[in-house]
Amino acid sequence: METVMVAWMFDSLLGLGLLWLAWQSLACSDLFKAIVLFIAFGLLMALAWVRLEAPDVALAEAAIGAGLTGALLMVALAQLQSIETNGDAAVATVKKGHCIRPLQWLLLIALSLMATGLGYVIISFPAHVPGLSTAVATHLEASGVSNPVTAVLLNFRGYDTLLELVVLLLALLGVWSLGGTVPQQTTTPAPLVLEALTRLLVPMLILTAAYLLWVGAHAPGGAFQAGSVLAAAGVLLLLIGRHPRAALMALPLRLILVLGPATFVAMAVVTMLIEGALLKFPPEHAGKLILLLETTAMLSIGATLAALFLGGRRHTDKEHS
């Protein structure tokens, strides 16, 4: 069969490309080059998810890998370089890129043993295992949505998602508690073209986020993907220097940040009291409840990711407030 052969060629090229990019990104000398290679690696990962018939995952990877990770790494590298040039040159003379030479061979042997072992285990796995797919399929009716991934995320394993939202919040708390790291260099005023681009893209991003949230009930999409797209809109605004006012940064931002987890917890308590089990939705209302949970989760995820990109509050903000 020709199709199968072409598909195999595509897959092997993609797999080898992934390994090569990861290797180059981790081994090359220039940090900026490493970041660009890592962004390209993210693009190929999205294609790999598509080949593995995981469009939901591909959407999340596309939103995060193409938008957030690249922007985060770029800005962090810029700040790092400004610290290194402004900082005390005498302190910064620690040799660059030193390795632990004596143990390197031992490490190489240990890791290749580990890789061989894992590879052997994987090859000996049976080719067909139903996993939990049949269990999900039989209960899909009662979940309130027809996209199995959304059903798992918001209904069957809702407590996982609740805790994930808390983890996001904790990461932000960690960043905030570290305080302002560097006096961020003032962004140059955005060129006119960039201004126009942002004005066109931000509404489109918000619209797409709403679409992904809505479509998530019956097709790939959902709160996490929509939240990431929403965060990208925030990142774009921050990049052209549109920082939110201090008044917005205080209480309103915090309310949006906890809106998702709080709704989840409230829902958990209510279902515990009425149904007697944590996050067990009555099937007739499950669809609406999931939509409510997803909307609040999307807002919180978007706000948290954008706030993470903004980083620690700068000294000037503290002085004003």
Binding site: V193, L194, L197, M204
Partner: protein, 99 residues
């Protein structure tokens, strides 16, 4: 294969040629400004041809709309980024290549 299929094949191949040309330009042109030109122009025409080819195969008008939207967005991003990179390069004193 119907007539529509043949048309799709021709358009897709034309699009692929433009993608190929874009890559060759990226590799062969001498400086940032010329590479910008190769990349954005060839790339947007290439994707445009592919979008048209896939649109005539699409199952609904909504799908056609989505395909065209994707193309417009890529063109918008490509054109803006090209402008921003060229502007930034000029301001940083990178001189355009002269034969």
């Amino acid at each position: 294969m119907t007539l529509i299929d043949y048309l799709t094949v021709v358009l897709l191949l034309a699009g692929a040629i433009f993608f190929f040309a874009g890559t060759v330009g990226l590799l062969r042109f001498p400086d940032v400004y010329t590479r910008l030109h190769a990349l954005t122009k060839a790339d947007n025409v290439g994707l445009g041809l592919m979008v048209v080819a896939l649109a005539i195969q699409a199952e609904s008008w909504a799908a056609v709309g989505k395909l065209l939207l994707i193309w417009l967005l890529v063109m918008l991003a490509g054109a803006s980024v090209a402008h921003l990179v060229a502007r930034g390069a000029l301001r940083r004193g990178i001189r355009p290549w002269k034969q």
